[in-house]
């Protein structure tokens, strides 16, 4: 059967005289007959389900009108007004809209506060007698998760979850319809759908994607096309007849609950009713949802695990066991190393990240909540929550705006008792580990028995076939000669008996043995053949990366070996870079290393040159100075770029320091003393820092006074250090006049130093009017000008 929802409430209220800026929900109390009449008009047009006038009747939204204490009253009045319009077959959906605030981590509303706000409203709707709860127009999956959890706690009635998507088929916070559907179905949504933001044409492909993902009934409530603004009124262009035509297509795509959102009227609903109400389901095309496997999601990405999908790499590196620095990072609350590991593993190809916060003595729940929250903002791969602490597990699951995998659920009583209900509540999948109170089963057959028990208990807790990943359990080959064989046999038995996706922590196999990478990679290849779907491993291991790439090709997951070839095909002769110039001697080698910015290479070369008897002056003049001059010229000609100049300067510095260290007496003498400062009021110092670096590494003594420096200080320091040159920098028009003041102050104080000015807003013309001696457009210019000045001064 096709069910028909109603259309827009807001437009109808405005037409009925609701003043602009007035709280629409207050009319439930003040003008219930008007609300009832609107509902009646929709019912008369064919609506099977009407939605209460409670879209904004939550505590946060009502606070805007000073009505926050009327949540229960206005929701109850809304249900009464709706009930007054109903015939015997009409159902009432309690409308629950967004809070208007973004939920942590995207906003400042905590998950618990969001949950409480929804719980309060939904409790009122439930107690007032709605037939179902409709959570709608949500753009943040985390807010929807809070609302759905609240609905499940406050009511036993069916819950419809409708997200709003943009034209790119994602919510504006990044969630696609497939990902949203997987998360919401796993958390127990009864009907999944989409409303608002777009017209039916744009919502059609979104409905198709939802239908391909779930067997849940699907609802859709489109706007009456894309609006325009005419005479300051938002006008939706789609006429009722056209809406009816689209309704047929939406039903054919899989929708079973159809209504309207912004801009739709009773006429639109009548048209929809006439178009689809009497369609026989048997006449509709059957929508084939995706073959069941286990799906995990982040906020914005879904990863499928199973025999019909390519191997998924689970990164194991966010685990402090045996890693002091990572443990200290977690204990300190910094999480810098945790974040680095996350980004690095994803760059290395990990598609899921295991997250373990098992540092002794810390509040693991707090650490897990923070880690999950931060990582959900940093990477888009789904997360695996790896903990034995039930509080840490719940904290992580609550904080995660996706569908996580719980690592792990064994057959030990406390895991079954506490972990399974959490998996059900938060819609997580579970990694089943064949360990029982009796210990670790040695044989594949024994492991099968334990897994059967876990799955049985999981089904009793309400989990479903798509919720499992089975661990084959690897023991150490050095301690147990059959460890590898039993793990491989377990994988085969799992596939034969269950067909659920499989995993295992590969590196256990090689514990205590040399060249563990060889054993791990070899075992990985064998396990993939035996049915391993998602190995937990170190993604940085090059041998493992090669093995996985080759295995993907051999197992048919890399058609024509395209991906393998891209990564491992030798570079053809024509693609190879032109051979670099071959330096004739050590001086040329140093020169080349400086020009190329090879900081690490230059130090041993300078050491070698000194050992070979080259004196420091020859090295400085023939290799270092000429190299920097070459780089400066190349920069001026547009053949070399600022970061390359800085790399050369760093290499130059490394070379100088080496000379100084080896032969302190031969250290190069200073070309001159330069005072540098960003002028008073100006806080930008990047450009000035670059100039300082280049001058220093070209042989000048630089006294960098920093940023926001007053003319008085600059004058004082210039005189104190008998500066040859004063370099001044300003970035903004508002601070540029300080250049003038400072130069005037220098001249008034009798300072004989030359002035060089520069900075984003400065020009040669400005430098002239400020009486500066020179203008430098960039750091390389500044070096050239300074050298020229010192040369003139010396001669």
């Amino acid at each position: 059967m096709i069910y028909i929802f109603d259309g827009a409430m807001g437009t109808m209220l405005q037409n009925a005289g609701l003043p602009p800026g007035y709280c629409p929900e207050l009319w439930n109390q003040e003008q219930p007959s008007v609300i009832t009449a609107i509902h009646k008009s929709y019912i008369d047009s064919g609506s099977d389900i009407i939605e209460t006038n409670t879209f904004g009747a939550n505590r946060i939204k009502l606070t805007h009108y000073g009505l926050e204490e009327k949540v229960a009253l206005l929701n109850t009045a809304a249900v009464q007004a709706a009930r007054a319009a109903c015939g015997p077959d009409t159902k009432i959906a309690g409308s629950v809209g967004p809070t208007g605030k973004l939920t942590v981590p995207l906003g400042d509303l905590s998950f618990d506060d969001a949950y409480n706000v929804f719980f309060e409203q939904i409790s009122a709707l439930d107690q007032a007698g709605v037939d179902m709860i409709l959570i709608e127009t949500i753009i943040d999956i985390q807010e929807m998760r809070a609302a759905l959890l609240a609905a499940k706690a406050a009511s036993k009635k069916p819950v419809i979850c409708q997200m709003s998507f943009g034209a790119d088929e994602r919510t504006v916070t990044g969630t696609d319809p497939v990902t949203a559907t997987i998360i919401l179905e796993a958390m127990g949504a009864d009907i999944i759908g989409v409303n608002c933001s777009l017209g039916p044409a744009q919502l059609l492909p979104i409905v198709e994607k939802i239908a391909q993902t779930t067997n849940c009934p699907i609802s859709v409530q489109a706007n009456a096309g894309m609006p325009s603004l005419i005479n300051k009124q938002t006008v939706f262009p789609m006429q009722p007849e056209e809406m009816g035509l689209w309704a047929k297509k939406l039903v054919a795509a899989g929708a079973r609950y159809v209504g309207g959102c912004c801009g739709t009227t009773p006429q639109h609903i009548k048209s929809i009713h006439q178009a689809v109400k009497h369609l026989a389901l048997s006449d509709l095309p059957t929508v084939q949802s995706a073959k069941k496997s286990t799906a995990l999601t982040s906020r914005s990405k879904t990863i499928y695990l199973g025999a019909d999908h390519p191997t998924v790499m689970i990164g194991e590196r966010i685990n402090p066991t045996g890693r002091k620095q990572l443990a200290a990072d977690i204990a300190s609350g910094q999480f810098i190393s945790v974040k680095k590991e996350a980004l690095s593993q994803v760059r290395a190809g990990a598609q899921l990240l295991d997250v373990n916060m098992g540092v002794p003595g810390i509040d693991q729940a707090k650490a897990m909540q923070y880690a999950i929250q931060e990582l959900s903002m940093l990477v888009d791969v789904p997360l695996v929550i790896d903990t034995t602490d039930v509080n840490a597990l719940e904290a992580g699951l609550k904080a995660y705006p996706g569908r996580a995998l719980i690592n792990s659920v064994s057959a030990e009583p406390e895991r079954l008792e506490f972990f399974l209900p959490l998996a059900k509540k938060y819609g997580a999948a579970i990694l089943c580990l064949p360990i029982s109170p009796a210990g670790v089963p040695k044989t594949a057959q024994d492991r099968l028995v334990v897994i059967q028990e876990i799955i049985h208990k999981a089904f009793e807790a309400g989990l479903k076939p798509g919720d499992f990943v089975l661990d084959a359990l690897i023991l150490t080959a050095a301690a147990d000669a059959r460890a590898g064989l039993e793990a491989l046999a377990t994988l085969k038995l799992y596939r034969q008996h269950f067909g659920y996706p499989t995993t295992m922590g590969l590196s256990n196999i090689s514990f205590g043995l040399p060249r563990r990478d060889i054993i791990n990679a070899t075992f990985c290849a064998m396990a993939l053949d035996a049915g391993l779907d998602a190995p937990i491993l170190n993604p940085y291991d090059p041998l493992m990366q090669q093995t996985l790439a080759a295995s993907a090709l051999l197992l048919g997951d890399d058609p024509s070996g395209r991906s393998y070839s891209v990564n491992y095909a030798p570079i053809s002769q024509s693609e190879e870079r032109a051979a670099p110039l071959t330096p004739k001697n050590i001086i040329e080698q140093i020169h080349l290393a400086i020009v190329s910015g090879e900081k690490e290479a230059v130090v041993p070369l300078v050491e070698q040159a000194l050992r070979e008897g080259h004196n420091s002056i020859a090295i400085s003049e023939q290799a270092l100075t000429t190299a920097m001059n070459k780089v400066g010229i190349a920069f001026g000609n547009g053949q070399c770029f600022l970061p390359q100049v800085l790399l050369a300067a760093e290499s130059m510095r490394a070379a100088f320091l080496t000379i100084k260290k080896e032969l302190p007496a031969h250290a190069a003498t200073s070309l001159g003393t330069i005072i540098l400062a960003t002028v008073k009021g100006d806080i930008h110092d990047l450009g000035k820092n670059i100039v300082a670096a280049l001058l220093e590494n070209n042989g000048f003594t630089v006294i960098d006074l920093g940023k926001d420096i007053s003319p008085e200080t600059i004058v004082e320091k210039a005189l104190e250090h008998k500066a040859d040159i004063v370099g001044l920098c300003a970035l903004m028009t508002t601070t540029m006049p300080q250049i003038d003041h400072t130069i005037a102050a220098l001249k008034a104080a009798g300072c004989s130093a030359q002035t060089i000015v520069g900075g984003a807003v400065l020009t040669q013309e400005y430098a002239n009017q400020a009486n500066a001696d020179s203008y430098a457009a960039n750091g390389v210019d500044a070096v050239t000008i300074a050298k020229g000045f010192m040369a003139d001064k010396t001669h």
Binding site: K101, K232, K339, K340, L343, L646, I683, L686, N689, T734
Partner: protein, 226 residues
């Protein structure tokens, strides 16, 4: 007044290269670019706040509680068809610029420069995401959004910065303006986004053609788009 924490999951390498002056460079150590990206992602704390106001195009005035008149320059022309404006403030927080200074003090100039460029890329990305939220909300009401226009663009006097910051509630995300009208943290942006009526059957068109660089007077800027 919405508060939004944008996500920095990937940084556009071509933008990072542009901001560091490497657009035309064909060979540069990738590991340094990757390191700058990674550190910027880890250390950024992106936040955005904004407020929508009515706009009177006839008098070029933002109708905030204390109305703000805009000068008869490019900004007024840009907003000529706007009925509303969103005034927005975005930052990635102070940590990144501190790390940039630390790199320079350790004589790791290149990484300092690249990290600074990655910070610019990050704050622009954060602003893009916040603008997308404003855009989608505006579209639902029949408005089209124009590209964001910041103090300093197109001869719009930077001294308006404190007022713009106030209208955007920048203090809520810890952005302040110095007496010289610079934003702190330095990797922060303020801007005004015009909301014009969506005209049926016409593709959305921004009033001013070309890139934001066309509105900037810094013709020698290393990051300038050709």
């Amino acid at each position: 007044m919405p508060i939004y924490n944008p996500t920095i999951q990937t940084l556009d390498m071509s933008e990072l290269k542009r901001y560091s002056g490497l657009t035309k460079c064909t060979e540069f150590p990738q590991h340094l670019l990757d390191q700058a990206c990674t550190e910027a992602q880890i250390i950024s704390q992106p936040k955005a706040s904004w407020q929508i106001y009515d706009y009177d195009a006839d008098s070029s005035t933002i109708m905030s509680p204390e109305p703000l008149s805009l000068p008869p320059t490019v900004i007024s022309k840009h907003l000529a068809n706007s009925l509303k404006v969103a005034v927005i403030a975005v930052t990635i927080g102070p940590d990144l610029e501190e790390l940039v200074s630390e790199y320079f003090s350790k004589n790791e100039y290149t990484l300092g420069l690249l990290l600074d460029a990655a910070g610019t890329t990050a704050v622009e990305l954060a602003a893009d995401q916040a603008c997308e939220l404003i855009k989608q909300d505006a579209n639902k009401q029949g408005y089209t959004t124009l590209f964001r226009f910041s103090p300093g663009y197109g001869q719009w006097d930077i001294r308006v910065q404190p007022q713009i910051l106030t209208l955007a509630h920048g203090d809520e995300i810890n952005i302040t303006a110095t007496s010289a009208c610079m934003l702190l943290p330095r990797k922060s942006i303020t801007a005004v986004i015009g909301l014009t009526p969506t005209v049926p059957n016409l593709p959305h068109k921004e009033t001013i053609e070309g890139s934001k660089c066309d509105q900037c007077q810094q013709i020698n800027c290393l990051s300038r788009k050709d």
